[in-house]
Amino acid sequence: MRHPALTWMVAAGVALVAAARVLAVDPTQLPDPALQARYVALTHELRCMQCQNESLADSPVDLAADLRRQVRELLLAGKSDDEVRAWMAARYGDFILFRPRYSLRNAWLWGAPPVLLLIGALVCWRVVRRRMTLLAADQDPVEEDART
């Protein structure tokens, strides 16, 4: 490379990537790549209960490591993703799932936005209709001129 600065930058970049690999919270590598992909996805969508806004995959605390071990064991035992999620939720509640499940208790949360949208559309439609009848009934010549 001609530019010494460029050489240094590339070297620094390579070092950073290597450091990230070494310092990664979770070095797990499952034998089957498909299983590994499911493991990575699952640990990213399960909450670390101790540090609550981090996922299992990102958390360095002991409990997160223990819970990752459980995910690993359940996957290796042939459990489906939903079975792993259910296993976690049975112990820690729905709070452990970053992606909420549909249930009767939170049904109104899912249902409310479309219902509110419908109400909004209805109000909008009524207002427009009323204004149109007002306009049709309006016989004021000055306004008539203004519109043409």
């Binding site: 209960m49 101790q50 002991d62 409990l63 223990d66």
Partner: protein
């Protein structure tokens, strides 16, 4: 008049929804346990004080007990220890301890130094039993009834208030209906 009716109604509805939300919102940081009303998780673990023997959840059936998760690495556990000793002195129900991811020798030292409030202490080195109980931070205390069902869970140091307001009434009202 009627033009105010709709906004007023919407406001009232919103107020009711928010009021319910505030009433039901748990204390910040305290997550309700899905275990309440469910059978307590089974376990069989070595005893801390007598490594040759095993502490079994099956042996605990038939009477009330408090299941207390602790560790010597946990500062709040030291804070609640005096209350645990008080519970032992009260003699209402036995305390079963779960020594969570701890060093055995240190844990034994802790009990000889501070006093031993437990009828038995199970050793959970791998943390598997704690996970089965949905434990995410020590200390946590569970109240289990004679049928082996979890009735109540307290997160954080056990206090005199929790003991008199939450635990004792549950145990004594059950005793009253039985007699």
């Amino acid at each position: 008049m009627s033009r105010f009716l709709l906004p007023l109604g919407v406001f009232a509805l919103l107020a009711v929804v928010l009021a319910i939300g505030i009433q039901h919102s748990p204390e910040k940081g305290v997550i309700p346990s899905p275990l309440i009303g469910k059978p307590a998780p089974q376990f069989a673990l070595p005893s801390l004080t007598d490594p040759a023997s095993t502490v079994r959840s099956a042996d605990l059936r038939g009477h009330w007990y408090l299941f207390n998760v602790w560790g010597t690495w946990c500062g709040e556990c030291r804070a609640e220890h005096e209350m645990l000793l008080q519970v032992r002195r009260a003699g209402v129900l036995p305390l079963i301890g779960l020594d969570w991811k701890d060093d055995d020798a240190q844990a034994r030292g802790w009990l000889t130094q501070l006093g031993d409030p437990y009828q038995a202490v199970a050793v959970d080195r791998s943390g598997r039993v704690a996970i089965d109980w949905g434990v995410y931070g020590a200390p946590e205390t569970f109240l289990v009834n004679p049928q082996g069902v979890v009735v109540y869970k307290h997160i954080g140091a056990l206090t005199y208030e929790t003991w008199t307001r939450e635990i004792l009434p549950r145990v004594s009202s059950a005793a009253a209906t039985r007699s």
